[in-house]
Symmetry: C2
Subunit: 336 residues, 2 copies
Amino acid sequence: MAVTLKDVASRAGVSTSAVSRAFTDGASVSVKMRRKVHKAAAELGYSPNFLARSLTTRRTKLIGLVSNNFHNPIFLEVFDLFTRSLQDRGLRPLLVNLSTETDPEHSVQMLRQYSVDGVIVASSTLPPAFSKAFRNKKIPVVNTFGRYSSTPDVHVVGIDNIEAGRIAARELIARGYRSVAFLGGPEAATSTQDRLKGFLEQLATHPGIQVRHSFAEAYSFRAGRAEMLRLAETDLAQAYFCGDDVLSIGVLSALQDRGKQVPRDVGIIGLNDMEMSAWENIALTTIAQPIRQIISSSVELMVAMLEEPDRYPEARLFPCHVVERGTLRPRPDCPT
Amino acid sequence: MAVTLKDVASRAGVSTSAVSRAFTDGASVSVKMRRKVHKAAAELGYSPNFLARSLTTRRTKLIGLVSNNFHNPIFLEVFDLFTRSLQDRGLRPLLVNLSTETDPEHSVQMLRQYSVDGVIVASSTLPPAFSKAFRNKKIPVVNTFGRYSSTPDVHVVGIDNIEAGRIAARELIARGYRSVAFLGGPEAATSTQDRLKGFLEQLATHPGIQVRHSFAEAYSFRAGRAEMLRLAETDLAQAYFCGDDVLSIGVLSALQDRGKQVPRDVGIIGLNDMEMSAWENIALTTIAQPIRQIISSSVELMVAMLEEPDRYPEARLFPCHVVERGTLRPRPDCPT
DNA sequence: GTTTTTTCCGCAACCGGTTGCAATTAAATT
DNA sequence: AATTTAATTGCAACCGGTTGCGGAAAAAAC
């Protein structure tokens, strides 16, 4: 059926090793030979079988791209960047959807069966046990959007969520809000916990300001909307730092339903700065996560680990910044 | 390093063939043997290497999932459904991002190097040449969201875009609009062409109604918004059938900027019914594409082709229906 | 209890490549 | 021109499995 090494070899009248070498660069072959082989290969329409090759080289160039987040629009951007970035380096993403998976061992086994060279865990809500399960089996892993720790046992790249919480707090304070709240994502997610922590920490230095917090059930429109609908039953804070952008949009929709004007009656600041947040009919003021850098750095780190599997785990954190749009009132000191 | 067949074999004191058979169901092994082998395997933490296996079985269970659409939120839903559906059947998606690829041969070669069992082309904007390139190399391919043809040369599953155009036209007519327009996606996309065709065709039977059309540069918020901003320079039609939902949202945002009320001043109907269209602050009236069915049918078809590669190409089309939300005025005959 | 069938297991070849090693050939030195 | 050194090439073993085939053992039939 398919044309193999042997076919090319016999056509070119050389050994199979010669053909093999002609297709691996850096191998010891004369240019003459290489030309001859490539000619025969072209005539036959041959291209080497990566999987067979991987058997001896122990490199499949397959990278498991695992996530459980298929309902947050920012992840489409994430997948776009990851696939492109991996492709550019000759790696192939094997996409794994863990939305319904609870057993880390199961995913590990599956990815081992396909001999992936490494695994990128792209999620801020997946329990750390997943990343660790890969590491325990000596599979290079980077946890993108994972939790920063001063003693990481797995490579993490993303942002400092605690600092993000502080940034949000500082921003709200600077805008002169006197009563603020954190409307977080799922309480179990480390990202939620950290953002809350930083938020409270920063506000603790401003005792005059009222603070409260609550959680939505997921990083999703529905959950954000539901939570704000619930909150609106009683009195509202002046401004909310929401778990992420999609949550924020749900919150905005609830406020609209309740006849609250944003930012006149209530201020909202999100986190992520996904594409949609810039849409004019949303115009969400938010804390931007530099996802391009995060992702290209994740891939870079992955290729580095392929060279050096026992690399000491590090955390790569990128700074966030707030991007001003239309859901927070202007700073009192610099009126627009 | 990794534990192999041989390790298990020697531990269990049996031949490698025995181990192999113990791990392939339907093989000729006694229960006793199977138990013994599995016990040894469990102790060693062995699981078979799919890629090595694929060398002889000629089945990798890898499916190329190719798309060029990483900016339309509906595709996140699409990827979610595809990955889950494939996983459920023991298949693994190798995700390929063709956003920047123009040469079909290149993609074919790459996927052949990984010996994918089949390819799912999920796109309504990718030139048909891509699907055909796979078919020409005898790789089973299904083109999801592809163009229906009465003589398909590649399996297609999706909707009848011409009929969708007709549905839109009928809906607008029924709502009593006297001047309507199609604001399509990229003119080169077959889906755009077909939707326009059906739209015009249906309206031709109502000579009293004014019809016009134009195209946005992409199925995207920005493109839809830009086009509507342009159109709003002159006078507008009473209602627009937009290329798809994300385009529609761009259009809505432009109208809002121009101070036009929807549906009071202008009516909008989209196509797709993506999750976001149901968000209360968008509430887009749209023609729903049954993507769950489309995708599960695509996967079904793919597994059928794995059994029977020379299956005669078919087109599987699913009916669309309009879902009423808030961007079209009510039907005159049944006021709400 | 013997003969015929079946079931089960191991041998060895093979899937499509890669690579250490030794042999051959070409190039460089003297 | 003879010798040393470097560049190429082929042989054969191996990567981690699968599978056709023949024979031994177990089960069924007589």
